[in-house]
């Protein structure tokens, strides 16, 4: 039985699929994709709503349709795919221990590994919401799986905490299936979801969005019977006397996504505390030779189109690594400066040719601001923006020539005139 591969890709969602095709097309034909679910496509399978692929395909696709485009590309090539297979461990020497009913448990050896495990949802436990532990509390993605894959509605009267896109999408989905969504509560003064989802998922169905509000108590013993929602002050602390009560049987949490990096840690790949994903070079190689990372396991993207794009970079350079055997070496560190929460890649290898696309998020909503990329006193790039919001990832293209001219490290920052 074959136990070694040139490239092993962990995860068969949008990142893994695009990475596999890219690695193959760039010259490495011995590629294995490992997916723990029974089918390829990852979370896209339960994202049955439309709006995917506008950047990449110039048309509005549902999640399964977007995934199908890449699954076809994988099938059209001689790429090996294992589904229903769990990766148990990964070492920095690129040994991958897997288990499934077909192969049993076995240890595979790869020349390069691409991490494409995606992310998972932040849970109620992470927020310490007071109350007992009755049935009826779900993450928005779990509710989505129940409704769209399993075919049952997890509740009839729903309050949603967090205004991330999955929560907004589920507000509409459960409403269409006959549930009453009473409120979406957002602790921040702005929604982290897309504007169009506020319009088409909440406004279309007259679902109220309470900004600067959070759930301060969940009531019920066997089943949720209600929640208390309170207004919060500028420090996000509940204000006494502002409590509202909702009778409901279900609470959904849509409060952020966390890259799923347990295997990454085992392989001793250094992580960024900001992104909670690996520290990478612009080619998406981590600080461990031959281990690459892409998609939501690296940084939580807004759109799947950008996941595919990033995965293609990782696939291309993983292929190059296998063919040439040369690892990245650091010359420049990239860090987040004032008003910027993170910047990626965290490291730039000047020997890798091409411009470098910098990805970053800002810490707050800023209007009429200037984004600056500096190295010491030198301004490499400066761009005026009418508006920057934390919910939208920003990008800047740093020209290769600019990089050759500098020796020091790079800082991405935002200069702000008015903070609204």
């Amino acid at each position: 039985m074959k136990k070694s591969y040139d490239i092993i890709i962990i995860g068969g969602g949008p990142a893994g699929l695009a990475a596999a095709v890219s690695a193959y097309d760039n010259g490495v034909k011995d590629v294995l994709v490992i997916e723990r679910d029974v089918r390829l496509g990852g979370i896209l399978n339960q994202c049955i709503h439309n709006g995917f692929g506008l950047t990449r395909f110039k048309e509005s696709l549902s999640g399964p349709e977007y995934a199908a485009r890449f699954i076809e590309e994988v099938r059209a090539r001689n790429i090996e795919v294992w589904t229903g297979t769990t990766v148990l461990s990964l070492t920095k020497d690129k040994q991958v221990t897997v288990i499934d009913p077909v192969h049993g448990m076995l240890v595979l050896q790869a020349k390069a590994v691409i991490l494409a495990m995606g992310c998972r949802e932040r849970s109620r436990g992470a927020l310490n919401v007071a109350g007992s532990r009755p049935a009826g509390i779900y993450s928005a993605g779990t509710a989505q799986k129940y409704v769209n894959i399993k075919g049952f509605l997890p509740g009839k009267r729903v309050v949603i905490l967090g205004s991330g896109d999955i929560g907004l999408i589920m507000a509409r989905r459960m409403t269409l299936e006959g549930a009453k969504v009473l409120a979406v509560c957002e602790i921040m003064p702005y929604s982290s979801g897309l504007k169009r989802n506020i319009a088409q998922c909440l406004d279309d169905f007259d679902i109220p969005l309470y900004l600067n509000h959070t759930i301060t108590k969940i009531e019920g013993e066997k089943r949720v019977t209600g929640v208390v929602v309170s207004k919060v002050d500028e420090n996000r602390q509940p204000i006494a006397g502002t409590e509202m009560h909702f009778d409901c049987d279900t609470v959904l949490f849509s409060v952020g996504l966390i890259p799923e990096n347990e295997l990454t840690k085992e392989a001793e790949v250094p992580l960024s505390p900001k992104t909670r994903g690996a520290v990478v070079y612009q080619n998406r190689e981590t600080l461990v030779d031959g281990i690459f990372a892409c998609g939501n396991v690296l940084q939580v993207h807004d759109l799947v189109d950008f996941v595919s794009e990033e995965a293609e970079v990782a696939g291309r350079y993983a292929s190059k690594y296998v063919l040439e055997g040369k690892s990245s070496a650091c010359a420049i560190d990239v860090s987040a400066g004032e008003n910027v929460s993170y910047a990626l890649p965290q490291k730039i290898d000047k020997n890798i040719s091409g411009n470098v696309k910098l990805f970053f998020r800002v810490t707050n909503t800023f209007r009429n601001c200037t984004i600056k990329v500096t190295s010491g006193d030198r301004v490499l790039l400066s761009r005026k923006k009418q508006i920057c919001v934390p919910g939208e990832m920003e990008t800047l293209l740093l020209a290769e020539q600019k990089l050759q001219e500098i020796d020091g490290n790079i800082v991405v920052s935002l200069e702000n005139e008015v903070n609204v």
Partner: protein, 115 residues
């Protein structure tokens, strides 16, 4: 009359101002592209949405579906009732028509293949 809309055509979500008189659109401002103009012009006259949902398959599983065209917004719940009464035969391929002309000329089509 003037109306301010959030465009739902793409993730940018332009804020669009539409001026209209009855069914006659006089001006559209704030849109970054032509899709936005078309959306805003239709939205003030007859708001339409692509409806996505699932239908039951004969083996008990689910098949994801969507309307092939946007349908009038006030028909969404009526069409959901029709969708929830469908039992679809297998196998289906992505793009197969599950229900012809489910609403206003739009078909209900499968958005994934199931064996």
């Amino acid at each position: 009359m003037k109306k301010t809309l959030t465009c739902i055509e793409c993730p940018i979500g332009c804020t669009i101002e539409v001026e209209f008189e009855g069914e006659q659109v006089l001006s559209v401002k704030g849109n970054a592209c032509l899709r936005g103009k078309a959306y805003a012009s239709s939205e003030v006259v007859c708001p339409k949405r692509v409806l996505t949902s699932t239908v039951r398959a004969e083996n008990g599983g689910l098949v994801p579906v969507k309307t092939s065209e946007p349908i009038p917004k006030d028909q969404l719940f009526a069409v959901m009732e029709k969708i929830n009464a469908v039992v679809c035969k297998l196998p289906v391929k992505i793009g197969d028509v599950i229900v012809e002309n489910i609403c206003d000329g739009a078909d209900l089509i499968a958005t994934n293949s199931e064996e």
